[in-house]
């Protein structure tokens, strides 16, 4: 049994090696890591080759003191190389390279020769699927190794965690490749399978964008609400104190004992400070909007639950490889101004919301989706006459 599996995987490897795109992707990966290595940091700021970039060129002070070299390269790896290169460009190139695997397998003249051997259809299809994942595994493994070397040599630290990119990026690729396998099985066309997979990915991306907007809006609203409620409370407190002072002045003039405290009526408060009533309306509107947004957010979340979590899966790398607290410290303390502070807190809360999404939800439901899609492909493959 293993003989057949190994033969299929070796064949998949040879097939990939025979594709020019495999080597083009590999060379591009090397160039990306090389560009990576050209960035440096010293006490004056960032460097690119022999050019010095001012420390405050990006809005925050970036020097070797505020951002240790090891952390710089880890940050670049997790926040630039992985999200932009590995999770977009390399995956698109990977899909282009592997989209033909199933249509090629099931084409007349090929499939009969394979099926005439003592191998079950389920094992054949699943081994082919794993063979397709080899493309991404090899690409990411080479990329991670080079990144590891750059971080070790230029950053001075051994970042073993960068190799987590291999399973994480392969997991993300596997969601899309499963879709590609199913579409290739149905359409028997490489081009159709590829284009439809990219279309599905596009839909997932749009839902992710919707989710990001919903989560960000929710967290920003929560922060804003907190600030506005605090402002209202401050206004009411000041108005109460002002009313109490006026009352005590009157009582003193009348020879009465001053009051320790006083519970003004709403009318007294809103008359005393005319900003209170509009502020209350404003808070009410924010809360009303938030209740409506909550429904949308729940809908999007449920929709995402049944779909593969491409963005969150890649986000795991950021979660596991970069010290988020250290990165936040580089940005300095939160602003003093209420509004700016609320915005910064909202942004931070948004990041935390993503960070706190459970692993079972991110990977578990994504793999369930993948298993479901592959299951359909297997059923079609098992039942089809060739």
């Amino acid at each position: 049994m293993m003989t057949q599996t190994i033969a299929l995987l070796v064949d998949a490897y040879r097939e990939l090696c025979a594709k020019k795109l495999f080597w083009i992707t590999m060379i591009l990966s090397v160039l990306v890591v090389a560009a990576f290595a050209m960035v440096g940091i010293n006490e004056k700021g960032l460097t690119f080759l022999w050019f010095q970039i001012p420390a405050d060129a990006f809005g925050v002070t970036l020097t070797s003191e505020t951002l240790p070299r090891g952390l710089l390269y880890r940050f670049m790896f997790a926040n630039l190389a992985v999200p932009f290169w590995l999770s977009w460009v390399a995956i698109v190139l990977g899909l282009i390279s592997t989209a033909g695997m199933i249509p090629d397998l099931i084409q007349s003249g090929t499939i009969e020769a394979v099926l005439s051997r003592p191998i079950g259809r389920v094992r054949l299809l699943l081994t082919k699927f794993i063979g397709g994942l080899l493309f991404m595994a090899l690409q990411v493994a080479v990329f991670s190794l080079l990144a590891f070397l750059v971080i070790a040599i230029r950053g001075g630290s051994l970042a073993w965690e960068v190799f987590l990119a291999v399973p994480i990026v392969v997991a993300m690729f596997s969601y899309l490749f499963a879709i590609c396998v199913l579409l290739g099985m149905i359409t028997r066309s490489t081009i159709a399978a590829l284009l439809l997979t990219l279309l599905v990915w596009c839909v997932i991306f749009i839902i992710n964008m919707g989710d990001a907007i919903a989560v960000s809006a929710h967290e920003q609203t929560k922060s804003q609400l907190r600030v506005e409620v605090a402002r209202l409370e401050r206004m009411e407190r000041n108005a109460t104190l002002a009313i109490l002072n006026d009352l005590n002045e009157e009582r003193t003039a009348e020879g009465q004992e001053p009051l320790e405290s006083y519970e003004p009526t709403d009318e007294e408060l809103t008359t005393r400070d005319i900003r209170i009533a509009p502020k209350r309306v404003e808070i009410e509107e924010i809360e009303s909007g938030e209740r409506l947004a909550q429904k949308w957010r729940t809908g999007i979340y449920l929709g995402k639950t049944v779909l593969p979590k491409t963005q969150e899966t890649i986000g795991l790398l950021d979660r596991w490889t970069v010290d988020q607290e250290a990165i936040r410290e580089i940005g300095g303390p939160l602003p003093e101004d209420d509004t700016q502070r609320a915005r910064a807190e909202g942004q931070q809360a948004t990041e935390d919301a993503y960070e706190n999404r459970p692993l079972w939800w991110i990977l578990g439901t994504s793999f369930l989706f993948e298993a479901f899609i592959l299951g359909i492909a297997v059923i079609i493959f098992k039942r089809r006459d060739f």
Partner: protein, 359 residues
């Protein structure tokens, strides 16, 4: 255990549904003898490839039973001992010839060392030793066919199924392939060939089956199928009209005693066309000794292979002034058999018979 490597009964295959069903196979039964070369013939759409694909599990049957090397059809275990070359095969172009052979060896569960050894043997057998390390994508059609045959043989199979093995191969390549087929038979393997090239099959097949419209219409050894169809042909000099008259005068009794026992001439059996031919075809009769005679232009067909029987006929022709140009024995070709079987199956009577017995 039966001596048939393939034994099938009433195999059926229907495609489609919702009132648009196509019957690709309408109850095929056959036994393929062990250690023989079996040829399956049939026009396009006869169901040959469907039948073969059912044997190798690429297509699922709609009905019927059967065994392949003693195991029920559909079982993967039996395929360990089966080699298969598909028609219009697409061997992996990214592999070399040797890698293709070894890959299919591995798919047949062969160990690494055995695969390598077997690949060496097969590269020599199919004369591809000099090209073994070149990518298949750069091979000619004939070279791909040779490697295709080698991959079918890699697992040392008891049964080799070849779909159009000589299609697109030059004459030298065909001869080589025929030699390989004969070598397979000599080694005790059973070879199942599916082909349109009747001449090729005729040279190597021990047994043939003829399929038409999803059914086996004729099956047996070429000798058994041609039995009763062997004949002498006597050709005389002269114009066609004169020859017809000559035969009539020489054998007045023969052509006055009714219909021939030979099957009526068909397109496959008819001699080359000529202006006077149409009138002569159908001039059939029977000798006093019971052998059938037919006039086809300036040739007389006598339904016998016994030389003594034709001597009085030759004498009678000469006696009437006829000049005998040639006397020869004729054995129907596989193409004749094929055309005959297909024509019989297409006849109204056969169609009516099918209507009554087939679903």
């Amino acid at each position: 255990m039966s001596d048939a490597v393939v034994s099938i009964q009433d195999i059926q295959k229907r495609y489609g549904g919702f009132g648009k069903k196509v019957h690709a196979l309408r109850g095929v039964s056959m036994d393929v003898p062990r250690g023989s070369i079996f040829g399956l013939l049939g026009p396009n759409g006869a169901g040959k490839s469907t039948l073969v694909k059912i044997l190798i599990t690429a297509v699922k049957r709609s009905g019927g039973t059967g065994t392949l090397l003693g195991q029920p059809i559909g079982r993967k275990d039996a395929l360990t001992r089966v080699g298969y070359l598909p028609e219009h095969h697409n061997l992996p172009k990214h592999l070399t010839g040797r890698q293709v052979i070894e890959f299919f060896g591995a798919m047949g569960k062969m160990g690494r060392a055995d695969r390598k050894k077997r690949a060496d043997e097969l590269l020599d057998l199919v004369r591809m030793r000099d090209w073994h390390d070149k990518k298949v994508g750069g091979y000619s059609k004939g070279m791909r066919q040779r490697i295709g045959i080698a991959q079918a043989l890699v697992a040392d199979p008891d049964l080799v199924i070849l779909d159009e093995p000589t299609d697109g191969v030059d004459p030298v390549g065909r001869r080589d392939i025929r030699m390989v087929l004969q070598q397979m038979r000599d080694e005790g393997r059973t070879v199942f060939i599916n082909s349109h090239l009747l001449g090729e099959l005729e040279m190597v097949c021990d047994t043939v089956g003829i399929m038409h419209k999803g059914r086996v219409v004729s099956m047996g050894t070429i000798e058994s199928l041609t039995e009763g169809m062997l004949r002498y042909e006597v050709e005389v000099e002269g114009e066609l009209e004169a020859a017809g008259s000559l035969f009539g005068r020489a054998l007045p009794e023969a052509f006055g005693r009714g219909q021939s026992t030979l099957p009526p001439p068909t397109q496959g059996l008819a001699p080359p066309t000529g202006t006077g031919l149409a009138r002569r075809v159908g001039m059939v009769g029977e000798l006093a000794t019971g052998e059938s005679v037919e006039v086809h232009g300036n040739r007389l067909w006598i339904g016998t292979t016994h030389a003594g029987t034709i001597q009085p006929v030759l004498d009678a022709i000469r006696a009437k002034g006829g000049v005998i140009k040639e006397v020869r024995t004729h054995r129907p070709s596989l193409e004749d058999l094929f055309m005959q079987a297909v024509a019989d199956d297409d006849s109204p009577g056969a169609a009516q018979g099918r209507e009554g017995t087939r679903p």
